[in-house]
Symmetry: D2
Subunit: 338 residues, 4 copies
């Protein structure tokens, strides 16, 4: 960490700060410049917050050199983490996984029917929301526990592991028992109490990037889960919020090589939420596979115009099947399977 | 709501969609154009989601004309809501309130001492975090319940109502009993389960704007609380995330007249988080008062460089007092008191 | 175009606005609602500005239904435009083009040497900046006309068409005579005088997207060039500015299918500026090809650490060659050649 | 400037980079850490580009400590610059200036009439666009030279100095002769050739912030003008582009104290473009004055609904007069006059 002092900082204040930093268990080196003095802090700085040091009125700025995360850091864990979701492996050089299913579970019949369809198309897991984060209190809020049971029924019928979003820590037991991959949604990416609760689960966690989260914020949220005891985190990019209005969000695919460089965790892509438009899903999915994604999570509905939520970004099964067929060819072209 | 159909939509599909919309309890008008057909939906459209209609593949786009919120809507409630926080009135033409105090409660002695200082400077309420949302799991996470009790002690000593952030629904009773104004932080602005839980409280809620929330998203989150039964919501702008890096966030002061036009709720401003820099807090505070804010919430610490969090944006009491003195003059200039 | 009037607009004002709009040569339909009256404008609305109509104080909002562009609009020109750059075809189902070369021309020897290298790697065109838009007046500003002549020499030696950035209308003749593809940079995307000047050139134009330009703004800038007489426009996405700091910009690959849906123009991708980091260029390039890009423009330098500009995002020739080899496989996987 | 090397950089590479940096005329200090080596560069680093050093593959990151601007830098020029615009002083502790007038000059009669109105309301200068940067080639593009002559006529009638936007270097003589304050618009903020041309003018320049420009980019553009010979630059904030759609742009008022801290240049605010909505202009104007702005530039039109451009954000003279009356009171409250 590099701490730059303001011009003309009194010698007494330089010494005071030096002492303050030394007490933080880091080694402090001084560079004396014409206009500035600079401290270089060497050692483990993850427990130091830039803004706490900035609070000293003689500090001009503070720059972190080493990453603030440890458990997720590729530097300390060079090998890829492969997460096992009820037998389906995600990450490393494993097969690229495809997760398909409706935005919302609408009943046992619907979710089982769609589960069978996505399985036949080639999906490896089933997605379906039982608890739904909706912008409006007047929109459908999900079937709740009933939806979780419907998902379970669909799994029994098809053998597909199920992914569903957890919105509140008081449903932890329900999810621990019934869900194979616990999704934390973009809006809860910095719901730290929920992250800590996930850290105590035995089930793996799918952590979506927040709409306005930097990559560093996102990795820090993974670090929360890992530091609380659960090493099985899969990251999921779903687009960030920008000024562009032609798409629902802006998909940032450079995160794929970046996440692989900075961390050892698997990363999958959600082209449905990123674009918000079923017509754009295929192109973005193929791009994600070419860029090295470890998986795709795609909304599929057999009657999108009657879906209880997010029909606008849902593929019909035939388009989903075609997407998988094309994605397989792209996967092979980059030396992976799907 | 205006629904535009794609060019060359078959007549059969036009009729099908017409029927589908009519069943939603709105009146449907058709405009026939050369390249497009357009449906105008008249009546209460708050229960309709644009994206559900977009799911129909013949729909080109959907534009909402009427706001999606009702309870918060100025159109249906022309009079200003004045929220009573343990006797302190916020909103309408009431005195502009000033809330001061440290980012984190660091113990009974500290919070009581600072409470006395901010009271002397002219503050109307005391802020202090007991549960802290920190980006890093390795940063100080707050004193928890102990901190809540410390706040209570400070209130007993000074008479100042206390504001503190609620991060999890399982602490609802603790807050209902001990806290006068329940803050929902930016990161939890779309934690809908928490919003619903706040709707069942009798205490007023201070709802911070999310870092990447549109004004509409923010009002919809207020609507969640109100629709769950709690009409006492105060909105708080604390800056949004943009590409600018010289400030921590970008303060959007146009929200003040906008919120007053669109809603009947009080709005206060948090210049500490918006700027992240104590040197900028005064200018932004005076600006907020001039623009019509109903209050300010400002971080104050007597030893910022030793604060357990956010010292970089905390004012010392003497600067806080000076700010209040200046803000009073600006308030008078715009016909308010402070 | 849909014009919504404010609640309780007096009948006289409704009629006045009706007449005002009718005089604009569009057909005006009225929808009467409970809270709102709405006008639907039918016909060619490209000459109408939303904000001009918004100026009427009784207008609540104005929504455009038809796109504001005509010449670039796929609706009126269903077939793909293929742009011919000195014999190299760009767009449609043509071979995906690869443009390689240094950020800056540093002299005849340097540009000729690199031209030969990129040609051997498989590039179809040569890039090189002679006039450089630099944030700092103290940075190298390009060799100017000398650099243009160096590019010409490199073309003579290798046969590769050359691409270079035009920053000022007074250099139009120089570019018309010496450059094969005239680049308009992101910072000049809304330099409308320069766009109009390009409209009078016979050489094709490579129009980069502005850092904060919506897709619609970008297409409108293409429309400027086309409306001034030059139909040969190639669009180039180079990343937009967002809050993310790990990458130089955020690459938005959903623009590829979107641009192909909305317009008939070719689109190429610049992964070097989008990421700002040579280590990320390959993954993003492969993604772009998979998503349907018509070309790639990539910075290549044989000694990046000594490059006069942008070495941080430049590939060495061996990595560039490997990228092309991999990109060929991805192109085949999606039914194209490269 | 702080240069951090990658972990395990070979000693030979450390030495090579050390030598490379030393040759750049800066003093180089080394800090050796456990995981990283760090170079601290001391001296004048304005001629060094971070990204050029980043091009070395052994460099992990580069952080600038000293600002990259010199002439605009408060550190080297502690006193406020006061710019003289045909006798009207801007900056320092001078009277806060108010610039009023229409978006577009629509003819001599119109601009003279409005000039008289804004003068009577209390404006110090007249604004009016003769060359208009319009997103659409089908929108009114301004009266051009005729408009400049109309402005001149209005100045002769009223004595108000005139401000108008320069879009192209080939109009420099026209502006030098006829315009008192030369505006560079947001879209041309990084049109570096135009900035350099302005550097050769004797007239002062009003430099608007680009829609996606950081504060540092903006100051660097001022530095371009100053380094080319013209020290009379007034900065103008007009809102930045964000995800928010209720306002045209997001006004960032924290720039006022920031610009005053970092530079010695005057700063004025454009609430018309920042909000895009005449109903929001007054509140934002008062806020700007309270925050310490040196001036306001406001669009005024006597018949906004018939204005040839931007009527939606134009005030009628009576509202403009009321705004000035209120702004005067706020100015007094913060110790200034207006």
């Amino acid at each position: 960490m590099i701490v730059t002092l303001r011009k003309n900082t009194p010698q007494k204040e330089v010494e005071k700060l030096y002492k303050y930093l030394e007490e933080k268990n880091v080694q402090v080196n001084i560079i004396r410049g014409e206009n500035f003095n600079v401290f270089g802090l060497v050692g483990d700085t993850t427990h130091l917050a830039e803004r706490d040091i900035l609070a000293n009125e003689w500090v001009e700025n503070v720059r972190r050199v080493a990453a603030p995360y440890k458990l997720a850091n590729r530097m300390f864990h060079p090998e890829d983490t492969v997460v096992d979701v009820a037998g389906v492996k995600v990450g490393g050089n494993e097969k690229i996984v495809v997760i398909g299913g409706p935005c919302s579970v609408e009943g046992e019949e619907q979710i089982t029917r769609i589960a069978e369809e996505v399985k036949e198309c080639g999906a490896d897991m089933l997605r379906g929301g039982a608890y739904k984060p909706r912008t409006s209190p007047y929109s459908f809020q999900g079937l709740g526990y009933e939806g979780i049971l419907d998902l379970k029924a669909a799994r029994e019928k098809t053998g597909l592991p199920v992914v569903s979003e957890l919105m509140s820590a008081d449903k932890i037991d329900e999810f621990e028992e019934n869900v194979d991959l616990v999704q934390i949604g973009a809006r809860n990416m910095q719901n730290f109490d929920l992250l800590k609760a996930c850290g105590h689960m035995t089930k793996p966690v799918l952590l979506k990037r927040g709409m306005s989260s930097t990559i560093e914020d996102w990795i820090m949220s993974a670090e929360y889960i890992m530091a609380s005891g659960n090493p099985n985190v899969i990251l999921c990019e779903r687009g960030i919020r920008t000024f562009e209005t032609y798409t629902r969000n802006t998909m940032d695919l450079a995160v794929i090589p970046l996440i692989k460089e900075k961390t050892h965790l698997p990363i999958i892509i959600d082209p449905s939420h990123a674009t918000g438009d079923y017509r754009l899903v295929e192109a973005v999915s193929l791009a994600a596979v070419a860029a090295g994604a470890d998986g795709l999570i795609i909304e599929v509905h057999d009657h999108p115009s009657e879906a209880w939520s997010d029909g606008a970004q849902s593929l019909k099964p035939d388009r989903f099947e075609e997407l998988i067929r094309k994605a397989r060819r792209v996967a092979e072209a980059v030396g992976r399977t799907l």
